[in-house]
Protein backbone atom coordinates (compact mmCIF):
# COMPACT_ATOMS: atom_id res chain seq x y z
CA UNK A 1 0.00 0.00 0.00
CA UNK A 2 2.77 2.37 1.03
CA UNK A 3 4.63 1.55 -2.16
CA UNK A 4 1.53 2.35 -4.19
CA UNK A 5 1.14 5.66 -2.39
CA UNK A 6 4.77 6.49 -3.03
CA UNK A 7 4.36 5.65 -6.70
CA UNK A 8 1.26 7.82 -6.94
CA UNK A 9 3.15 10.61 -5.23
CA UNK A 10 5.90 10.32 -7.78
CA UNK A 11 3.37 10.44 -10.61
CA UNK A 12 1.95 13.61 -9.13
CA UNK A 13 5.23 15.33 -8.33
CA UNK A 14 8.55 15.38 -10.14
CA UNK A 15 11.31 17.06 -8.13
CA UNK A 16 8.73 18.77 -5.98
CA UNK A 17 6.88 20.29 -8.94
CA UNK A 18 3.35 19.17 -9.71
CA UNK A 19 2.90 17.35 -13.00
CA UNK A 20 0.08 19.63 -14.17
CA UNK A 21 2.17 22.73 -13.42
CA UNK A 22 5.08 21.19 -15.29
CA UNK A 23 2.86 20.55 -18.31
CA UNK A 24 1.52 24.12 -18.34
CA UNK A 25 5.04 25.47 -17.84
CA UNK A 26 6.35 23.46 -20.79
CA UNK A 27 3.49 24.78 -22.95
CA UNK A 28 4.34 28.36 -21.96
CA UNK A 29 8.04 27.76 -22.74
CA UNK A 30 7.10 26.26 -26.12
CA UNK A 31 4.86 29.24 -26.79
CA UNK A 32 7.56 31.79 -26.00
CA UNK A 33 10.21 29.95 -28.02
CA UNK A 34 7.85 29.72 -31.03
CA UNK A 35 7.11 33.43 -30.69
CA UNK A 36 10.83 34.24 -30.72
CA UNK A 37 11.34 31.91 -33.69
CA UNK A 38 8.50 33.59 -35.53
CA UNK A 39 10.25 36.96 -35.29
CA UNK A 40 12.94 35.58 -37.63
CA UNK A 41 10.77 33.40 -39.91
CA UNK A 42 7.47 35.20 -40.09
CA UNK A 43 4.86 32.54 -40.85
CA UNK A 44 1.08 32.98 -40.52
CA UNK A 45 0.49 29.28 -39.78
CA UNK A 46 2.99 29.34 -36.94
CA UNK A 47 1.34 32.53 -35.65
CA UNK A 48 -2.04 30.77 -35.69
CA UNK A 49 -0.50 27.81 -33.86
CA UNK A 50 0.95 30.21 -31.25
CA UNK A 51 -2.50 31.77 -30.80
CA UNK A 52 -4.12 28.35 -30.26
CA UNK A 53 -1.35 27.42 -27.79
CA UNK A 54 -1.88 30.69 -25.91
CA UNK A 55 -5.61 30.00 -25.57
CA UNK A 56 -4.78 26.46 -24.41
CA UNK A 57 -2.31 27.84 -21.83
CA UNK A 58 -4.89 30.22 -20.46
CA UNK A 59 -7.62 27.59 -20.37
CA UNK A 60 -5.35 25.10 -18.61
CA UNK A 61 -4.28 27.70 -16.06
CA UNK A 62 -7.90 28.66 -15.48
CA UNK A 63 -9.06 25.06 -15.02
CA UNK A 64 -6.13 24.31 -12.73
CA UNK A 65 -7.04 27.28 -10.54
CA UNK A 66 -10.65 26.18 -10.57
CA UNK A 67 -9.68 22.64 -9.58
CA UNK A 68 -7.55 23.95 -6.70
CA UNK A 69 -10.48 26.09 -5.51
CA UNK A 70 -12.85 23.14 -5.82
CA UNK A 71 -10.63 20.76 -3.88
CA UNK A 72 -10.06 23.38 -1.18
CA UNK A 73 -13.79 24.06 -0.77
CA UNK A 74 -14.38 20.29 -0.60
CA UNK A 75 -11.73 20.03 2.11
CA UNK A 76 -13.34 22.95 3.98
CA UNK A 77 -16.77 21.30 3.81
CA UNK A 78 -15.32 18.02 5.11
CA UNK A 79 -13.65 19.89 7.98
CA UNK A 80 -16.89 21.72 8.87
CA UNK A 81 -18.92 18.52 8.82
CA UNK A 82 -16.36 16.74 10.97
CA UNK A 83 -16.18 19.66 13.38
CA UNK A 84 -19.82 19.24 14.37
CA UNK A 85 -19.09 15.64 15.42
CA UNK A 86 -16.04 16.81 17.32
CA UNK A 87 -18.05 19.49 19.11
CA UNK A 88 -20.51 16.85 20.26
CA UNK A 89 -17.61 14.63 21.34
CA UNK A 90 -16.16 17.48 23.40
CA UNK A 91 -19.37 17.72 25.42
CA UNK A 92 -18.44 14.42 27.05
CA UNK A 93 -15.23 15.90 28.52
CA UNK A 94 -15.20 16.07 32.32
CA UNK A 95 -13.17 19.31 32.29
CA UNK A 96 -13.93 21.69 29.46
CA UNK A 97 -11.06 24.14 29.97
CA UNK A 98 -8.12 21.76 29.68
CA UNK A 99 -6.44 22.68 26.38
CA UNK A 100 -4.21 19.58 26.39
CA UNK A 101 -7.21 17.33 26.75
CA UNK A 102 -9.17 19.14 24.04
CA UNK A 103 -6.25 18.99 21.60
CA UNK A 104 -5.64 15.29 22.36
CA UNK A 105 -9.29 14.56 21.67
CA UNK A 106 -9.19 16.51 18.39
CA UNK A 107 -5.95 14.84 17.34
CA UNK A 108 -7.59 11.45 17.64
CA UNK A 109 -10.50 12.50 15.44
CA UNK A 110 -11.54 10.04 12.75
CA UNK A 111 -11.81 13.01 10.37
CA UNK A 112 -8.43 13.05 8.62
CA UNK A 113 -8.30 16.83 8.07
CA UNK A 114 -9.18 17.73 11.68
CA UNK A 115 -6.74 15.17 13.00
CA UNK A 116 -3.94 16.46 10.75
CA UNK A 117 -4.54 20.14 11.48
CA UNK A 118 -4.74 19.69 15.25
CA UNK A 119 -1.68 17.44 15.30
CA UNK A 120 0.23 20.31 13.69
CA UNK A 121 -1.25 22.79 16.16
CA UNK A 122 -0.33 20.61 19.12
CA UNK A 123 3.22 20.26 17.82
CA UNK A 124 3.57 24.02 17.43
CA UNK A 125 2.19 24.69 20.90
CA UNK A 126 4.59 22.11 22.35
CA UNK A 127 7.43 23.97 20.60
CA UNK A 128 6.43 27.10 22.47
CA UNK A 129 4.14 29.00 20.10
CA UNK A 130 1.26 31.03 21.49
CA UNK A 131 -1.99 29.00 21.11
CA UNK A 132 -3.91 32.11 20.06
CA UNK A 133 -1.47 32.83 17.20
CA UNK A 134 -1.54 29.22 16.01
CA UNK A 135 -5.35 29.19 16.06
CA UNK A 136 -5.42 32.48 14.15
CA UNK A 137 -3.25 30.92 11.45
CA UNK A 138 -5.73 28.05 11.09
CA UNK A 139 -8.60 30.56 10.97
CA UNK A 140 -6.90 32.47 8.14
CA UNK A 141 -6.24 29.24 6.25
CA UNK A 142 -9.87 28.06 6.09
CA UNK A 143 -11.93 31.22 6.65
CA UNK A 144 -14.77 29.06 7.91
CA UNK A 145 -17.50 30.44 10.12
CA UNK A 146 -17.90 27.29 12.23
CA UNK A 147 -14.17 26.79 12.66
CA UNK A 148 -13.76 30.44 13.70
CA UNK A 149 -16.48 30.12 16.32
CA UNK A 150 -15.06 26.82 17.55
CA UNK A 151 -11.51 28.18 17.88
CA UNK A 152 -12.79 31.39 19.53
CA UNK A 153 -14.60 29.24 22.06
CA UNK A 154 -11.46 27.21 22.82
CA UNK A 155 -9.42 30.43 23.24
CA UNK A 156 -12.10 31.94 25.49
CA UNK A 157 -12.29 28.68 27.37
CA UNK A 158 -8.59 28.42 28.12
CA UNK A 159 -8.09 32.13 28.88
CA UNK A 160 -11.20 32.86 30.98
CA UNK A 161 -12.53 29.43 31.91
CA UNK A 162 -16.09 30.66 31.49
CA UNK A 163 -17.01 28.17 28.78
CA UNK A 164 -18.92 25.08 29.78
CA UNK A 165 -19.49 21.86 27.86
CA UNK A 166 -23.02 23.01 27.08
CA UNK A 167 -21.51 25.83 25.01
CA UNK A 168 -19.91 23.30 22.68
CA UNK A 169 -23.25 21.55 22.47
CA UNK A 170 -24.96 24.86 21.69
CA UNK A 171 -22.52 25.67 18.90
CA UNK A 172 -23.04 22.20 17.41
CA UNK A 173 -26.83 22.47 17.56
CA UNK A 174 -26.72 26.02 16.14
CA UNK A 175 -24.56 24.88 13.29
CA UNK A 176 -26.77 21.88 12.59
CA UNK A 177 -29.85 24.13 12.50
CA UNK A 178 -28.24 26.62 10.14
CA UNK A 179 -26.79 23.81 8.06
CA UNK A 180 -30.28 22.35 7.71
CA UNK A 181 -31.50 25.71 6.47
CA UNK A 182 -28.59 26.03 4.06
CA UNK A 183 -29.18 22.48 2.80
CA UNK A 184 -32.85 23.30 2.20
CA UNK A 185 -31.85 26.42 0.30
CA UNK A 186 -29.19 24.56 -1.68
CA UNK A 187 -31.69 21.87 -2.71
CA UNK A 188 -33.93 24.63 -3.98
CA UNK A 189 -31.13 26.28 -5.90
CA UNK A 190 -30.07 22.90 -7.28
CA UNK A 191 -33.55 22.40 -8.76
CA UNK A 192 -33.32 25.87 -10.25
CA UNK A 193 -29.85 25.15 -11.61
CA UNK A 194 -30.86 21.90 -13.32
CA UNK A 195 -34.02 23.50 -14.75
CA UNK A 196 -31.83 26.15 -16.38
CA UNK A 197 -29.20 23.64 -17.54
CA UNK A 198 -31.84 21.38 -19.10
CA UNK A 199 -33.64 24.34 -20.66
CA UNK A 200 -30.36 25.84 -21.94
CA UNK A 201 -28.68 22.65 -23.04
CA UNK A 202 -31.59 20.59 -24.36
CA UNK A 203 -35.01 22.25 -24.55
CA UNK A 204 -34.27 25.63 -26.19
CA UNK A 205 -31.81 24.39 -28.86
CA UNK A 206 -33.81 21.20 -29.37
CA UNK A 207 -37.13 22.93 -30.01
CA UNK A 208 -35.56 25.66 -32.15
CA UNK A 209 -33.56 23.10 -34.13
CA UNK A 210 -36.64 21.00 -34.81
CA UNK A 211 -38.71 24.06 -35.81
CA UNK A 212 -36.04 25.38 -38.19
CA UNK A 213 -35.55 21.95 -39.71
CA UNK A 214 -39.32 21.44 -40.03
CA UNK A 215 -39.75 24.74 -41.85
CA UNK A 216 -36.91 23.91 -44.21
CA UNK A 217 -38.39 20.47 -44.96
CA UNK A 218 -41.81 22.05 -45.52
CA UNK A 219 -40.29 24.50 -47.96
CA UNK A 220 -38.62 21.75 -49.97
CA UNK A 221 -41.23 18.98 -49.84
CA UNK A 222 -44.32 21.15 -50.37
CA UNK A 223 -44.19 23.43 -53.33
CA UNK A 224 -45.59 26.46 -51.58
CA UNK A 225 -45.37 28.61 -54.66
CA UNK A 226 -47.72 26.17 -56.41
CA UNK A 227 -50.51 26.94 -53.95
CA UNK A 228 -49.84 30.65 -54.16
CA UNK A 229 -47.66 31.13 -51.07
CA UNK A 230 -44.24 32.65 -51.49
CA UNK A 231 -41.53 30.90 -49.56
CA UNK A 232 -39.02 33.56 -48.68
CA UNK A 233 -35.51 32.19 -48.47
CA UNK A 234 -34.12 35.37 -46.97
CA UNK A 235 -36.68 35.21 -44.14
CA UNK A 236 -35.62 31.63 -43.47
CA UNK A 237 -31.93 32.55 -43.44
CA UNK A 238 -32.51 35.49 -41.07
CA UNK A 239 -34.54 33.25 -38.73
CA UNK A 240 -31.86 30.54 -38.90
CA UNK A 241 -29.03 32.91 -37.93
CA UNK A 242 -31.17 34.68 -35.34
CA UNK A 243 -31.92 31.31 -33.69
CA UNK A 244 -28.20 30.55 -33.51
CA UNK A 245 -27.47 33.98 -31.98
CA UNK A 246 -30.39 33.53 -29.56
CA UNK A 247 -29.01 30.15 -28.44
CA UNK A 248 -25.57 31.70 -27.84
CA UNK A 249 -27.10 34.58 -25.87
CA UNK A 250 -29.33 32.22 -23.95
CA UNK A 251 -26.42 29.95 -22.99
CA UNK A 252 -24.34 32.98 -21.87
CA UNK A 253 -27.22 34.30 -19.71
CA UNK A 254 -27.87 30.82 -18.25
CA UNK A 255 -24.19 30.19 -17.48
CA UNK A 256 -23.84 33.57 -15.83
CA UNK A 257 -26.98 33.00 -13.78
CA UNK A 258 -25.90 29.53 -12.62
CA UNK A 259 -22.53 30.94 -11.53
CA UNK A 260 -24.45 33.68 -9.72
CA UNK A 261 -26.47 31.01 -7.89
CA UNK A 262 -23.26 29.26 -6.89
CA UNK A 263 -21.74 32.61 -5.89
CA UNK A 264 -18.70 31.97 -8.03
CA UNK A 265 -18.61 34.12 -11.16
CA UNK A 266 -15.51 32.30 -12.43
CA UNK A 267 -17.66 29.23 -13.09
CA UNK A 268 -19.43 31.08 -15.94
CA UNK A 269 -16.65 29.93 -18.29
CA UNK A 270 -16.99 26.32 -17.11
CA UNK A 271 -20.74 26.19 -17.73
CA UNK A 272 -20.30 28.04 -20.99
CA UNK A 273 -17.67 25.56 -22.15
CA UNK A 274 -19.99 22.58 -21.86
CA UNK A 275 -23.42 24.17 -22.43
CA UNK A 276 -22.47 25.89 -25.68
CA UNK A 277 -21.19 22.78 -27.53
CA UNK A 278 -24.04 20.68 -26.10
CA UNK A 279 -26.70 23.15 -27.23
CA UNK A 280 -25.17 23.45 -30.72
CA UNK A 281 -25.00 19.67 -31.00
CA UNK A 282 -28.68 19.38 -30.15
CA UNK A 283 -29.64 22.32 -32.39
CA UNK A 284 -27.94 20.80 -35.42
CA UNK A 285 -29.22 17.33 -34.53
CA UNK A 286 -32.73 18.73 -35.06
CA UNK A 287 -32.41 18.20 -38.81
CA UNK A 288 -31.96 14.44 -38.29
CA UNK A 289 -35.12 14.21 -36.17
CA UNK A 290 -37.50 15.86 -38.61
Amino acid sequence: MKRKMKKRGFMKNIFGVELSSLFILSLVVLNISLLILNIFIFNLDVLLFIGILMVLDMLLLFFKKLYINYSFSKQKKELEDGLVDELLRLTSLPKSNDLKLILAKLESSKNQIISKEFKEINLKIKKGHNPKDVFNLLKEKYNSDVLNRFLDLIILNTTTGTVSVSDYKNIASNFLKTKLLLDERNTLLLTQKYTIIIAGGILVPGILGVVISLVKKLGTSLSLEAIGISNSLSLYLISYWCSIIYIIEYVIISSFYISLIEQNSKKTVVYLSFLLPASFLIFFAGRFIV
Partner: protein, 241 residues
Protein backbone atom coordinates in the same frame (compact mmCIF):
# COMPACT_ATOMS: atom_id res chain seq x y z
CA UNK B 1 -32.93 50.79 -1.94
CA UNK B 2 -30.45 53.61 -2.36
CA UNK B 3 -30.38 56.23 -5.11
CA UNK B 4 -30.71 54.68 -8.57
CA UNK B 5 -29.77 57.75 -10.62
CA UNK B 6 -26.26 58.19 -9.31
CA UNK B 7 -23.70 60.32 -11.16
CA UNK B 8 -21.58 57.27 -12.07
CA UNK B 9 -24.57 55.39 -13.42
CA UNK B 10 -25.81 58.32 -15.49
CA UNK B 11 -22.35 58.70 -17.05
CA UNK B 12 -22.35 54.94 -17.84
CA UNK B 13 -25.76 55.31 -19.44
CA UNK B 14 -24.63 58.23 -21.62
CA UNK B 15 -21.62 56.18 -22.76
CA UNK B 16 -24.07 53.40 -23.69
CA UNK B 17 -26.25 55.88 -25.63
CA UNK B 18 -23.17 57.19 -27.45
CA UNK B 19 -22.30 53.59 -28.34
CA UNK B 20 -25.81 52.92 -29.68
CA UNK B 21 -25.72 56.12 -31.78
CA UNK B 22 -22.28 55.16 -33.10
CA UNK B 23 -23.47 51.68 -34.11
CA UNK B 24 -26.55 53.20 -35.73
CA UNK B 25 -24.64 55.65 -37.90
CA UNK B 26 -21.66 53.43 -38.66
CA UNK B 27 -23.43 50.16 -39.37
CA UNK B 28 -27.21 50.09 -39.52
CA UNK B 29 -27.89 53.44 -41.23
CA UNK B 30 -25.56 52.61 -44.09
CA UNK B 31 -26.63 48.99 -44.51
CA UNK B 32 -30.40 49.36 -44.33
CA UNK B 33 -32.33 52.56 -44.50
CA UNK B 34 -33.92 52.68 -41.08
CA UNK B 35 -35.50 55.91 -39.92
CA UNK B 36 -34.19 57.92 -36.97
CA UNK B 37 -37.35 56.87 -35.05
CA UNK B 38 -35.72 53.48 -34.49
CA UNK B 39 -32.76 55.20 -32.89
CA UNK B 40 -35.03 57.15 -30.53
CA UNK B 41 -36.90 53.99 -29.58
CA UNK B 42 -33.58 52.22 -28.98
CA UNK B 43 -32.47 55.03 -26.62
CA UNK B 44 -35.79 54.99 -24.70
CA UNK B 45 -35.73 51.20 -24.35
CA UNK B 46 -32.07 51.12 -23.38
CA UNK B 47 -32.88 53.68 -20.63
CA UNK B 48 -35.65 51.47 -19.24
CA UNK B 49 -33.61 48.27 -19.54
CA UNK B 50 -30.39 49.74 -18.14
CA UNK B 51 -31.98 51.18 -15.02
CA UNK B 52 -34.28 48.22 -14.38
CA UNK B 53 -31.25 45.88 -14.53
CA UNK B 54 -29.51 48.15 -12.07
CA UNK B 55 -32.59 48.14 -9.82
CA UNK B 56 -32.60 44.33 -9.86
CA UNK B 57 -28.88 44.24 -9.06
CA UNK B 58 -29.43 46.58 -6.09
CA UNK B 59 -32.21 44.29 -4.89
CA UNK B 60 -30.02 41.19 -5.30
CA UNK B 61 -27.17 42.81 -3.35
CA UNK B 62 -29.58 43.85 -0.62
CA UNK B 63 -31.00 40.34 -0.49
CA UNK B 64 -27.49 38.85 -0.24
CA UNK B 65 -26.65 41.25 2.57
CA UNK B 66 -29.87 40.36 4.43
CA UNK B 67 -29.22 36.67 3.90
CA UNK B 68 -25.73 36.95 5.41
CA UNK B 69 -27.08 38.76 8.47
CA UNK B 70 -29.97 36.30 8.82
CA UNK B 71 -27.46 33.45 8.75
CA UNK B 72 -25.47 35.05 11.56
CA UNK B 73 -28.47 35.99 13.72
CA UNK B 74 -29.28 32.57 15.32
CA UNK B 75 -25.58 32.13 16.26
CA UNK B 76 -25.50 35.65 17.66
CA UNK B 77 -28.65 35.19 19.77
CA UNK B 78 -27.53 31.81 21.11
CA UNK B 79 -24.07 33.10 22.03
CA UNK B 80 -25.69 36.08 23.73
CA UNK B 81 -27.97 33.68 25.60
CA UNK B 82 -24.92 31.66 26.73
CA UNK B 83 -23.27 34.80 28.12
CA UNK B 84 -26.43 35.95 29.87
CA UNK B 85 -26.84 32.48 31.36
CA UNK B 86 -23.44 32.98 33.01
CA UNK B 87 -24.63 36.34 34.41
CA UNK B 88 -22.34 38.39 32.15
CA UNK B 89 -23.79 41.94 31.78
CA UNK B 90 -25.64 42.67 28.55
CA UNK B 91 -23.21 45.31 27.29
CA UNK B 92 -20.21 43.10 27.96
CA UNK B 93 -21.81 40.15 26.23
CA UNK B 94 -22.49 42.42 23.25
CA UNK B 95 -18.80 43.39 23.31
CA UNK B 96 -17.91 39.68 23.18
CA UNK B 97 -19.83 39.42 19.92
CA UNK B 98 -17.64 41.96 18.09
CA UNK B 99 -15.83 40.24 15.25
CA UNK B 100 -15.28 40.61 11.49
CA UNK B 101 -18.77 39.37 10.59
CA UNK B 102 -21.47 41.76 9.34
CA UNK B 103 -23.37 41.54 12.61
CA UNK B 104 -20.15 41.95 14.59
CA UNK B 105 -19.44 45.18 12.72
CA UNK B 106 -22.95 46.46 13.44
CA UNK B 107 -22.53 45.74 17.16
CA UNK B 108 -19.16 47.50 17.07
CA UNK B 109 -20.81 50.56 15.50
CA UNK B 110 -23.59 50.56 18.09
CA UNK B 111 -21.17 50.29 21.01
CA UNK B 112 -19.02 53.06 19.52
CA UNK B 113 -22.11 55.30 19.41
CA UNK B 114 -22.85 54.49 23.05
CA UNK B 115 -19.30 55.08 24.27
CA UNK B 116 -18.37 58.13 22.20
CA UNK B 117 -21.49 59.84 20.91
CA UNK B 118 -23.73 59.69 23.95
CA UNK B 119 -26.49 57.45 22.57
CA UNK B 120 -28.32 54.95 24.73
CA UNK B 121 -27.78 51.29 23.85
CA UNK B 122 -31.37 50.95 22.67
CA UNK B 123 -31.13 53.98 20.39
CA UNK B 124 -27.81 52.97 18.91
CA UNK B 125 -28.94 49.39 18.19
CA UNK B 126 -32.06 50.64 16.42
CA UNK B 127 -30.04 53.22 14.48
CA UNK B 128 -27.42 50.79 13.16
CA UNK B 129 -30.11 48.37 12.03
CA UNK B 130 -32.09 51.04 10.16
CA UNK B 131 -31.32 49.50 6.75
CA UNK B 132 -32.54 46.01 7.69
CA UNK B 133 -36.10 45.68 8.94
CA UNK B 134 -35.67 42.12 10.28
CA UNK B 135 -32.53 43.04 12.21
CA UNK B 136 -34.26 46.11 13.61
CA UNK B 137 -37.14 43.93 14.85
CA UNK B 138 -34.68 41.53 16.52
CA UNK B 139 -32.80 44.40 18.16
CA UNK B 140 -36.09 45.91 19.30
CA UNK B 141 -37.11 42.58 20.86
CA UNK B 142 -33.66 42.20 22.38
CA UNK B 143 -33.74 45.57 24.13
CA UNK B 144 -37.30 44.88 25.23
CA UNK B 145 -36.24 41.57 26.78
CA UNK B 146 -33.31 43.25 28.54
CA UNK B 147 -35.55 45.94 30.00
CA UNK B 148 -38.11 43.42 31.24
CA UNK B 149 -37.84 41.96 34.71
CA UNK B 150 -37.74 38.32 33.60
CA UNK B 151 -35.07 36.17 35.26
CA UNK B 152 -34.49 33.60 32.53
CA UNK B 153 -33.56 36.02 29.75
CA UNK B 154 -31.38 33.44 28.05
CA UNK B 155 -34.34 31.13 27.53
CA UNK B 156 -36.29 33.92 25.81
CA UNK B 157 -33.32 34.61 23.55
CA UNK B 158 -33.04 30.94 22.63
CA UNK B 159 -36.73 30.84 21.76
CA UNK B 160 -36.23 33.93 19.63
CA UNK B 161 -33.34 32.23 17.84
CA UNK B 162 -35.42 29.08 17.22
CA UNK B 163 -38.33 31.11 15.87
CA UNK B 164 -35.92 32.91 13.55
CA UNK B 165 -34.65 29.61 12.12
CA UNK B 166 -38.23 28.43 11.71
CA UNK B 167 -39.18 31.65 9.92
CA UNK B 168 -36.24 31.28 7.54
CA UNK B 169 -37.25 27.69 6.85
CA UNK B 170 -40.82 28.84 6.09
CA UNK B 171 -39.51 31.52 3.73
CA UNK B 172 -37.57 28.88 1.82
CA UNK B 173 -40.68 26.68 1.53
CA UNK B 174 -42.74 29.63 0.30
CA UNK B 175 -40.11 30.49 -2.30
CA UNK B 176 -39.97 26.84 -3.35
CA UNK B 177 -43.66 26.80 -4.30
CA UNK B 178 -43.29 30.15 -6.05
CA UNK B 179 -40.21 28.92 -7.89
CA UNK B 180 -42.08 26.01 -9.51
CA UNK B 181 -44.41 28.47 -11.20
CA UNK B 182 -41.62 30.85 -12.25
CA UNK B 183 -39.56 27.94 -13.65
CA UNK B 184 -42.51 26.84 -15.74
CA UNK B 185 -42.99 30.37 -17.09
CA UNK B 186 -39.25 30.58 -17.73
CA UNK B 187 -39.18 27.39 -19.81
CA UNK B 188 -42.26 28.49 -21.75
CA UNK B 189 -40.89 31.98 -22.43
CA UNK B 190 -37.36 30.87 -23.26
CA UNK B 191 -38.09 27.80 -25.38
CA UNK B 192 -41.68 27.57 -26.53
CA UNK B 193 -42.47 31.23 -27.30
CA UNK B 194 -39.39 31.78 -29.56
CA UNK B 195 -40.14 28.50 -31.38
CA UNK B 196 -43.79 29.47 -31.89
CA UNK B 197 -42.72 32.93 -33.04
CA UNK B 198 -40.35 31.46 -35.64
CA UNK B 199 -42.99 28.98 -36.77
CA UNK B 200 -45.54 31.77 -37.12
CA UNK B 201 -43.01 33.94 -38.87
CA UNK B 202 -41.92 31.37 -41.44
CA UNK B 203 -45.12 29.46 -42.09
CA UNK B 204 -48.02 31.43 -40.61
CA UNK B 205 -47.05 34.78 -42.06
CA UNK B 206 -47.24 33.28 -45.54
CA UNK B 207 -50.81 32.09 -44.98
CA UNK B 208 -51.92 35.26 -43.21
CA UNK B 209 -49.92 37.46 -45.59
CA UNK B 210 -48.33 39.54 -42.87
CA UNK B 211 -44.97 40.96 -43.83
CA UNK B 212 -42.13 41.23 -41.31
CA UNK B 213 -39.18 43.57 -41.75
CA UNK B 214 -35.84 41.77 -41.21
CA UNK B 215 -34.92 44.27 -38.48
CA UNK B 216 -38.11 43.35 -36.54
CA UNK B 217 -37.18 39.66 -36.61
CA UNK B 218 -33.65 40.46 -35.45
CA UNK B 219 -34.87 42.78 -32.68
CA UNK B 220 -37.46 40.30 -31.39
CA UNK B 221 -35.25 37.21 -31.51
CA UNK B 222 -31.85 38.62 -30.65
CA UNK B 223 -32.83 41.44 -28.28
CA UNK B 224 -36.35 41.02 -26.89
CA UNK B 225 -36.38 37.29 -26.05
CA UNK B 226 -32.97 37.23 -24.30
CA UNK B 227 -34.02 40.34 -22.37
CA UNK B 228 -37.20 38.65 -21.15
CA UNK B 229 -35.14 35.56 -20.16
CA UNK B 230 -32.66 37.75 -18.32
CA UNK B 231 -35.38 39.65 -16.43
CA UNK B 232 -37.08 36.42 -15.40
CA UNK B 233 -33.79 35.07 -14.06
CA UNK B 234 -33.06 38.34 -12.27
CA UNK B 235 -36.54 38.22 -10.75
CA UNK B 236 -35.90 34.66 -9.53
CA UNK B 237 -32.56 35.65 -8.02
CA UNK B 238 -33.85 38.87 -6.45
CA UNK B 239 -36.61 37.01 -4.62
CA UNK B 240 -34.49 34.09 -3.43
CA UNK B 241 -34.54 33.83 0.39
Amino acid sequence: MGNIFTKKLLITFFVLVAFIVLIYFLLIYNVSEISVNYLLWAIVFSFIIFFSIHLFLIKINLQNYKRKINYELPFFLNNLANDLERNIPFKLSLQNRIDESLLGTKIKQALFMVDNLGYTLEESLLLVSKDNFELQTIFYQLTDIMQSGTKNKHLVLRTLSDSLVEKQSNDIKKYSSKLNMISLIYVVVSAIVPALFLMFLLVGSNFLEISFAPITIILVTVVLFPLIDMFLLLYMKANAP
